[in-house]
Symmetry: C2
Subunit: 136 residues, 2 copies
DNA sequence: CTGTGTGCAAACACTTTGCAGGTGT
DNA sequence: ACACCTGCAAAGTGTTTGCACACAG
């Protein structure tokens, strides 16, 4: 599906910035931070526009936030989510060598028994180590 | 054990700022961010000093970093760690109601089978929801 | 006394907000 | 035409760095 159709499907107007950002997210295996995007975008968009684009995508459910140990927000496409049924309970892996964080879509976060009175709504599991590309 | 002894045990000089910050961390169940500390400290220390104190504690292994979904760094005492043997593989729970993040020391992160070539070194599991205090 | 902790000033990085003007449908 | 996206300016927040002085051991 082309970018425009995908955007329309999420009730978003197709604009240059959105198409570019979406393209970047679609062509990368790993999660991207705002600065990753800023550096890799061809045409230069205003920082603010990129921030707003990411926020919009997030709100509409096109992308999900990926936890990071250093505080920078990273984002990745929602591959399994429909518009209504969100499901990001897969494991994220951050490589300490190349610095990239990828979604391990096939690996789900196990159920955890919480103490009485605790209600879980969302789970995020970040594993850090060395990825298969950097493995020697 | 008093604060001074604990500090000395980690080869740290005992100073007013360190004692205060350590005291705060010891008297709270939940993880504290820099601004939490800044607000709750009696005597006012310079922001920078608190940042450096936290970094020092982190380096020496007195505290560990707690992941947060909003990018602010939070810290909690290492309760199970000896100086050599670090072990933070417990679950963290963030309550969306009170905003506090606590260490569920008794709940360990399950083993995860990673794809071939991936080497796990550290795991962080953050569960978000409603804690037992805010549960109605 | 000596190394290192502290406070101050400043810089840096990341993110948000307000507003005016431009663009997609 | 209208809603809304974009760019610019500015401000807010979190964090780091350099330097001179103060303090703990």
């Amino acid at each position: 599906m082309d970018h425009k159709k995908l955007l329309n499907q999420f009730k978003l107007k197709s604009t240059p910035c959105r198409s570019e950002v979406l393209m970047l997210l679609r062509t990368h295996e790993h999660a991207l931070s705002h600065s990753d995007i800023e550096q890799q975008v061809d045409r230069s968009f205003d920082r603010v526009t990129v921030y707003r684009t990411l926020k919009t995508f997030l709100d509409k459910g096109l992308i999900h936030k990926v936890l990071d140990d250093e505080g920078v927000s990273k984002y990745a496409l929602c591959s399994e989510c429909s518009k209504e049924n969100h499901n990001h309970e897969h494991v994220h892996f951050k490589c300490e060598s190349c610095g990239q964080t990828q979604c391990l879509d096939n690996i789900r976060i196990p159920e955890i028994d919480l103490p009485a009175g605790f209600l879980a709504k969302e789970k995020n599991l970040l594993i850090q180590g060395v990825c298969d590309q950097c493995d020697q």
